[in-house]
């Protein structure tokens, strides 16, 4: 690897990492703002302009709290829980394509932490590991509420992963690639998957709510039944890590949704913009600026989905546990299978017909 390439890659990875953290941090602020606005209040607005320093103040408070470990808890696992949750949450952001390529002296560097040709599988693997953080934390606390929360989290994540995977298969059938970069570039030119896969999108969205333990599927931390759920015994920055991991997961899944269904960094009219920019500023600068615009569009989409998560949170009530399981196993999985069959039929029969008709 050339030096320039290496430097750009390192910077990309650092930027991706920092951006993920910053977005997760400001999601906590955003969540409270959105909650406030939806409830006709202002939300935090005292710390800094518009309350923008609130996350820093919260983090400061978290750090200064007593770092308490219950006497009968399993010390190592008690610490490992939040660390694992944080680690797995951050790992998943590595393969997300944030933009197309960066050009530097004839080199093209992809704006993506790792270019993996099995990106989506990697995401699934890492997200599935995420449940260990919760499970270990809940078990190590030596508290029945934590344990119940952890068990709920585990069973819920496992059930919804099935439907999620199935809804994804329809996408993979259309793109015939597992690489996220490839899936995005196939959606170039307004060819977004949401138009072909509306049902798959709804299933995927529902399942990602469940995977992130967000309302209406936040049973693992259901206060009315389980005190605080799996993090009942946690305090200080360890609790902070759990909450933070939740927000990172939210960002990652918003990013994945916009990559899979909303064309990632593609936006209508991007070819025209690209031509204008390269025409005016030369192939290198113009290309890079066009890439940055695409990245901004990508973040816009991801942020919209983060907003959507919050919007839903302050609208819907929580499901009951049996309703959750019924929805997962009896509704979403059959629907996802139905979606696969439809997609398969369409790819096999409809697509040749339409291509023949268009030609």
């Amino acid at each position: 690897m050339e030096l320039a390439e290496f430097v750009i890659k390192t910077i990309t990875i650092l930027v991706v990492f920092v951006l993920t953290l910053v977005i997760a941090m400001y999601s906590t602020w955003g969540e409270r703002k959105v909650a406030g606005f939806i409830q006709d209040r202002m939300g935090p607005n005292r710390a800094g302009p518009g309350g923008l320093l609130q996350p820093l103040a919260d983090a400061g408070k978290m750090f200064f709290k007593e770092d308490f470990i219950p006497a009968l808890a399993n010390k190592w696992l008690f610490i490992a829980g939040p660390s694992l949750a944080m680690l797995t949450a951050l790992l998943a952001s590595a393969v997300i394509p944030f933009g197309s390529t960066f050009r530097w002296e004839g080199k093209e560097v992809v704006l993506q932490g790792v270019e993996s040709n099995i990106g989506i599988l990697y995401v699934f693997g890492v997200v599935a590991l995420g449940v260990y953080g919760i499970m270990i934390g809940g078990w190590a606390s030596n508290n029945k509420f934590s344990l119940l929360g952890a068990i709920r989290a585990a069973s819920q994540n496992i059930s919804y992963e099935v439907a999620m995977g199935l809804s994804l298969i329809a996408i993979l059938m259309m793109s015939s690639s597992l690489s996220l970069g490839e899936i995005v570039s196939q959606q170039h030119g307004g060819n977004w998957n949401i138009f072909y896969q509306p049902l798959g999108f709804i299933i995927f969205l529902t399942c990602s709510f469940a995977e992130c333990n967000r309302v209406p599927f936040d049973l693992p931390e259901c206060e009315t039944e389980l005190v605080g759920g799996y993090h009942t015994e946690y305090g200080s920055m360890k609790l902070g890590f759990y909450l933070f991991a939740e927000y990172i997961n939210m960002f990652v899944s918003s990013a994945i949704i916009s990559v899979l269904y909303f064309g990632g960094y593609n936006y209508p009219g991007m070819d025209w913009v690209y031509d204008q920019l390269t025409g005016a500023l030369g192939t290198q600068t113009g290309h890079n600026i066009a890439t940055l615009i695409g990245t901004a569009v990508f973040f816009g989409k991801a942020l919209f989905f983060i907003f959507f998560y919050m919007w839903v949170r302050w609208t819907l009530p929580r499901f009951r546990y049996d309703q959750l399981m019924n929805l997962g196993w009896k509704k979403l999985i059959p629907l996802a299978i139905f979606n696969i069959i439809i997609t398969g039929a369409a790819v096999l029969f409809l697509k040749p017909l339409i291509t023949a008709w268009l030609n």
């Binding site: 606005f37 939806i38 006709d40 209040r41 202002m42 919007w311 302050w314 609208t315 819907l316």
Partner: protein, 197 residues
């Protein structure tokens, strides 16, 4: 008896397919919350913006002086007796020769203390006073305490300042809003709230 016309008969009928699909209902709910998202906020930014509390609001106490600047209180102790929270403490003293300018009656309160942690702002002291000496201001709160020393308010804080007399200048909400607007424009500056020295 019907209390409201919003009541609905409980029904156990089967849900229609539309209702069972759940998504239309979610969309309706989301529309409602989005409407609130853009709605006007009801929050009043408290320390900067103060809501008008009405002309009969009972805030902090004040010991009035008369037109000549003499303290009206005669240390009769009726307010202390009336006080349900036993918040008022009075020590009486006799007016000396040469003090006629200071005290209106022959007996006056050498010490008049209100314990603001005990006071429940019921206004019974105000009712009890035969000399119209003690009032609860309608326009000023007790400021937040930072220390126990600040809890007991003596005469230094309670007795009215002749250059900044307390009057109840408005009696309706509309008048009060008008006055507030004038104050904000700097047109009226007669009553300036005092801070703890």
């Amino acid at each position: 008896m019907q209390l409201t016309n919003r009541s609905k008969q409980v029904s156990n009928k089967e849900m229609t397919l539309m209702e069972r699909a759940y998504l239309p209902a979610i969309a309706t709910g989301l529309a409602i919350t989005l409407k609130h998202f853009f709605a006007k906020k009801v929050t009043i930014q408290y320390p900067e913006v103060k809501r008008y509390l009405g002309p009969v609001f009972r805030g902090r106490h004040i010991l009035k002086r008369d037109e000549d600047g003499r303290e009206r209180c005669t240390a009769c102790g009726l307010c202390a007796v009336a006080c349900p929270a036993e918040a008022i403490q009075i020590v009486a003293a006799e007016r000396e020769k040469g003090e006629e300018k200071l005290y209106r009656e022959e007996k006056y309160a050498a010490v008049y203390e209100v314990n603001m942690l005990r006071c429940i702002f019921c206004g019974l002291c105000e009712e009890a006073c035969p000399k119209q000496a003690v009032y609860l201001r309608h326009d000023e709160f007790i400021p937040v305490f930072a220390d126990r020393d600040q809890v007991i308010w003596g005469k230094d804080l309670l007795v009215e300042d002749m250059n900044n007399r307390y009057t109840r200048e408005t009696w309706t909400k509309e008048e009060a809003y008008e006055l507030n607007a004038k104050r904000a424009n700097g047109e009226v500056t007669n009553v300036v709230p005092r801070a703890i020295p």
